[in-house]
């Protein structure tokens, strides 16, 4: 039971990274515009995020400190303040986009303007966090998230050209629209390097009271959990490549993205897409809202846990209670969740090095990791990820201007 629960943490974390409102749209766009050419980007990003997630979990298992905790403690408040400001901005935008994503999903099945659903979704989100426990959030999201396997079923039903797909795993130069190609590639990796994802995973490991004996399980969870998300994301790319690309459909809205499900599922396609989008976005919004509370509580040393009653960790509860309506307000004011996501992905890319770089230090700190520090190979790999994160940060904004 505990093993299943552990893997559930991996699955729910991967939903925030691979299957949130931005990732689904980007994957659909990538498949429609470039066929299977971008699969290598997903593969590379998945490897990186598996490793980062494993390290975040290992840090939590050994030190019982989350990533944000450790960054504040080891790098000092000045460094943490950059992370705090940046992550609050990004998380609020992502939260707005995710709430909007759920509202858009409801719009797809009802035809009612998505903005009417925003307050209802926000209230449901807040209520679940207010009265629920971490297990309910984690396991509920994981179970509901299994509906996204519909993308895998749809992809399989279409009979994908596996040879073409395998070729897509090798990095290639774009055949057309280079700026948009690289912007999409940066968007995919940027969406995976989301700071909230790593800290949510580490915080979840502490909520679940992982310890040294859970280190092997942490590795399995990181691989299986991120693997689950990657399989779904790859399926979206492939399905979009097979259904939208040949018809020249550019994915500029979720209505267009939903059309990828029409061929495999007929009239069930759009409701199924809406169900997948809605549950994935709801799961991601739970993650982001909780992560905002974790960020403040861990950074400032407050009492925190989703398993405590609100009166036992009042400041923790107040943060998400304020953040959720603010996110809802943002999506109503700013409009299209897809546009909010595009902007937040660029900010995400800028912020990624700020959280990935300290990992290189922390995972070698004997006070935190004791005998479970990184070996040389691990350090080389993390260093490569840090370099990738910095490169993405440098090119993200110019590419957004040129190709977004």
């Amino acid at each position: 039971m505990k093993s299943l629960s552990n893997v559930a943490l991996g699955i729910v974390t991967s939903i925030g990274g691979f299957l949130d409102v931005g990732a689904i749209a980007t994957a659909a766009l990538a498949g429609a515009a470039f066929g299977f050419q971008m699969l290598w980007v997903l593969a590379l990003g998945t490897l990186c995020v598996m490793y980062l997630t494993e390290m975040a979990g290992r840090l939590a298992c050994v030190s019982h400190h989350s990533l944000v905790d450790a960054i504040r403690e080891r790098c000092g408040f000045r460094y943490f303040s950059f992370l705090l400001v940046g992550e609050v901005l990004v998380d609020l935008l992502v939260l707005a986009a995710e709430i909007g994503g759920v509202a858009v999903a409801l719009h797809l099945v009802t035809g009612i303007d998505y903005r009417w659903f925003v307050p209802i979704v926000a209230f449901a989100l807040w209520l679940l966090i207010w009265i629920g426990t971490f297990s309910i959030v984690q396991n509920g999201t994981s179970v509901l998230g299994l509906i996204t396997l519909a993308f895998v079923v749809g992809m399989w039903w279409m009979g994908p050209p596996w040879h073409e797909a395998m070729k897509g795993l090798l990095p290639t130069a774009p055949s057309h629209d280079a700026a948009r190609y690289w912007f999409t590639a940066v968007g995919i990796i940027g969406a995976l390097f989301e700071p909230f994802m790593l800290n949510f995973y580490a915080s979840g490991a502490i909520e679940e009271k992982w310890s040294l004996k859970d280190i092997p399980m942490n590795r399995v969870t990181a691989v299986l959990g991120m693997g689950f998300g990657a399989v779904i994301a790859v399926s979206i790319v492939m399905l979009s490549a097979m259904t939208l690309g040949p018809r020249g459909i550019q994915v500029d809205s979720y209505e267009q993205a939903a059309m990828m499900m029409l061929q495999p599922f007929g009239s069930w396609g759009v409701p199924l897409f809406a169900a997948c989008l809605g549950t994935a976005c709801f799961g991601a919004s739970l993650q982001v809202a909780l992560n905002l509370s974790y960020l403040f509580s861990q950074g400032f040393g407050w009492n925190w846990s989703e398993n405590l009653k609100p009166h036992e960790d009042a400041r923790f509860a107040i943060v998400y209670t304020l953040a959720i309506p603010l996110g809802a307000f943002l999506v109503i004011i700013l409009g299209d969740p897809l546009q909010i996501t595009t902007f937040s992905m660029a900010l995400n890319a800028l912020l990624a090095p700020v959280i990935v770089f300290p990992l290189l230090i922390l995972m070698n700190d004997r006070h935190y990791l004791r005998d479970y520090r990184n070996h040389m190979v691990g350090n080389v790999f993390v260093s490569a990820i840090v370099v990738i994160a910095f490169l993405i940060a440098i090119v993200a904004i110019p590419l957004e201007v040129l190709g977004g």
Binding site: R74, G76, F77, R78, I361, N364, D365, R366, H367, N379
Partner: protein, 110 residues
């Protein structure tokens, strides 16, 4: 607000230490305290990039250059903190112990 004879240690962190002649020696990256009867007293300040490297426990990354002095161990009596924003040495640079060298035995001022 701090009282007049109080110093905020967190504001000393990262401050540039200057020599008697006004040259930059390095930044304060660590402060070490020792037990003296019922109190902890700050006995030394670690200055320079190697002090930061040691604080972050990344010395094994090999990012220091062999043959170069990357930091100093500055005793409490070798540092003038009358202006905490501009700490200055009270001795010559060659009287400072390089970080990484074995500690010299010293007599503390009465």
């Amino acid at each position: 607000m701090a009282e007049k004879n109080e110093i905020r240690a967190e504001l000393l962190l990262g401050r540039k230490v200057r020599s008697i002649h006004g040259h930059a020696v390095g930044r304060i990256e660590e402060m070490r305290a020792e037990r003296e009867h019922d109190y902890w007293v700050v006995t030394e300040f670690h200055v320079g990039p190697i002090a930061l490297v040691e604080r972050l426990a990344v010395r094994h990354f090999g990012i220091t250059l062999p043959g170069r002095v990357h930091g100093y161990r500055v005793r409490w009596d070798q540092l003038d903190l009358s202006n905490p924003y501009h700490p200055r040495l009270t001795c010559h640079l060659d009287e400072l112990e390089p970080l990484g060298a074995p500690r010299r035995k010293h007599r503390r001022a009465a």
